[in-house]
Amino acid sequence: MTIGFADGIVLGLLALASLFALIRLWMGPTSADRIVAADTLSVIATGGIIVLALIFDSVLYLDVALLYGVLAFVGIVALARAIEGDRA
């Protein structure tokens, strides 16, 4: 496990991106903004897990990223169905 210069830049940018998404999740005016922020945050977390697989040099983290993506997608579709109503 070595964190090089480029890995540091990538991790810093991903941390700033998730901080921005968390700010939108916290102060979003409506619940729709919060759902969009949660969707974006899940994709940012998937990318972060992929970069962690490179840094820790372990292929197991890619399975973790795939499973996280599946669960986030199911959650987002369930939220969309819930705010759309019971028909459709």
Binding site: L13, A17, V36, A37, I44, A53, D63, G69, A80
Partner: protein, 99 residues
């Protein structure tokens, strides 16, 4: 090859960062959903490409994760946008001062 992988990784992280910045700066739910979907999807695919150039033995799993992101992220966002539109979330219009 290692330098190219690092450059692609930094470009991907930059796209993810700009997508999140657009999520913070845009004035409307629909603008936010397009900034937060397209830029972040492209950034995630660039991150996958950079990791694959750095570790060439990981290509099959990276391809599966990339296809999954490319397939589900637009579907989820368009489902969300359709749900917002059906429940009557208003579309933002620019306020003109002279009218």
């Amino acid at each position: 090859m290692n330098l190219l992988a690092d450059v692609i990784l930094i470009i991907g992280a930059l796209f993810v960062f700009l997508g999140a910045l657009g999520l913070l700066r845009m004035p409307d739910v629909y603008n936010r959903i397009q900034a937060g979907t397209k830029a972040v999807t492209l950034g995630s695919l660039c991150l996958l490409l950079g990791v694959g150039l750095n570790q060439p033995a990981w290509w099959p799993k990276l391809l599966i994760v990339g296809l999954f992101i490319l397939l589900t992220n637009p579907i989820g966002s368009s489902t969300l946008a359709r749900a917002f539109h059906k429940t009557g979330v208003p579309v933002w219009r620019e306020k003109r001062s002279e009218t």
